[in-house]
Symmetry: C2
Subunit: 190 residues, 2 copies
């Protein structure tokens, strides 16, 4: 059992059969020292890749992406924006994403200034369930001509389809904890 | 002229008389090494305060808050959420905030689990204009009984009222760069 699986069992809790909350350390309150340790594991896994940019999506992915920047020689972080911001300008890569947690569809954008074919990306997020957010980031990366060197998430819900779909597309996806099932209040990892 | 003022002149640009964009290093693409240097300045200013929690608001405040956590012995970061999330639960502190950039009003929440009278807060954000986001965070901090030890922002637009209002309430507010005017394409600092 790795440090994230241990932490989920210690501090995570189940809201219903589908939803596990890790808001005390990963996506509302943030334990930055712990995120740095997770970033070390991700860096070690992708150490042979020439990653020069970290791509994530607001808001929960930003802290982990920030710690990853430190591990990858301060590669810039770019975070995709979830709503149309009148200040963003029209010169954006964009995709549409359906949120699993809020059930709403939203537009995701990245300014064309910040992704190019010169970029070797590590795509990062906190959670992977149906994979909609990651699919949106992958679509944006492809529009930009960037190379996707790898994808890292903290928690994958293995009983949903996102991880399978993304791996089947040939992406090198690292999930630090894969939840196999949540049954009768018990979390089992793959 | 400090490092942020220099960087704004080098990489910032003016969208109109009121809006200055620093999206290449502060709030869309993030220069994490530079944010760490800004965090050092903030840490030095508040070094005599016993800060044990960093409070910010999604999304642009999170990276700077993350770097500040490192400077303050890995104090936990809590970021306020901008929309009602069905997974957040009802047990939240909340306020309502009007966005200067999108002109919409939104609800801001923090789970009651993560703020208490034991907390000595440093409140952080990237931008201060009318001060609406900070006022929302201050309201939430007050609801929780936390102590607000200080407030830090990267860029204050000194020609708008937010900074004045917050200082008049007696808060110790550090703005790393205060823009005095934007006229004829020229940025002047206070």
């Amino acid at each position: 059992m790795n440090i994230l699986e241990e932490r989920i069992l210690k501090d995570g809790y189940i809201l219903d059969e589908n939803i596990i909350k890790v808001d005390s350390f990963l996506n509302h309150q943030l334990d930055i020292k712990f995120l740095s340790e997770l970033a070390d594991i991700i860096k070690d896994y992708f150490k042979d890749k020439k990653i020069n940019k970290i791509l994530t999506i607001e808001a929960s992915g930003i802290a982990l992406a920030t710690m990853l920047s430190e591990k990858f020689d301060y590669a810039p972080v770019v975070f995709a924006k979830k709503q149309k911001n009148k200040n963003l300008g029209k010169d954006v890569f964009e995709s549409h994403v359906k949120s699993f947690t809020t059930d709403k569809e939203y537009r995701v954008t990245v300014s064309k200034k910040f992704l190019s074919p010169d970029d070797n990306l590590l795509i990062v997020d906190d959670f992977l369930a149906e994979g909609n957010a990651l699919k949106g980031l992958i679509a944006i990366a492809k529009q930009s001509g960037s190379n996707i060197e790898g994808i890292a998430v903290a928690v994958e819900k293995g009983f949903q389809e996102g991880g399978k779909i993304i791996r089947n597309e040939g992406h090198d996806l690292l999930s630090l904890a894969i939840i196999d099932s949540i049954e009768n209040g018990e979390i089992k990892f793959k």
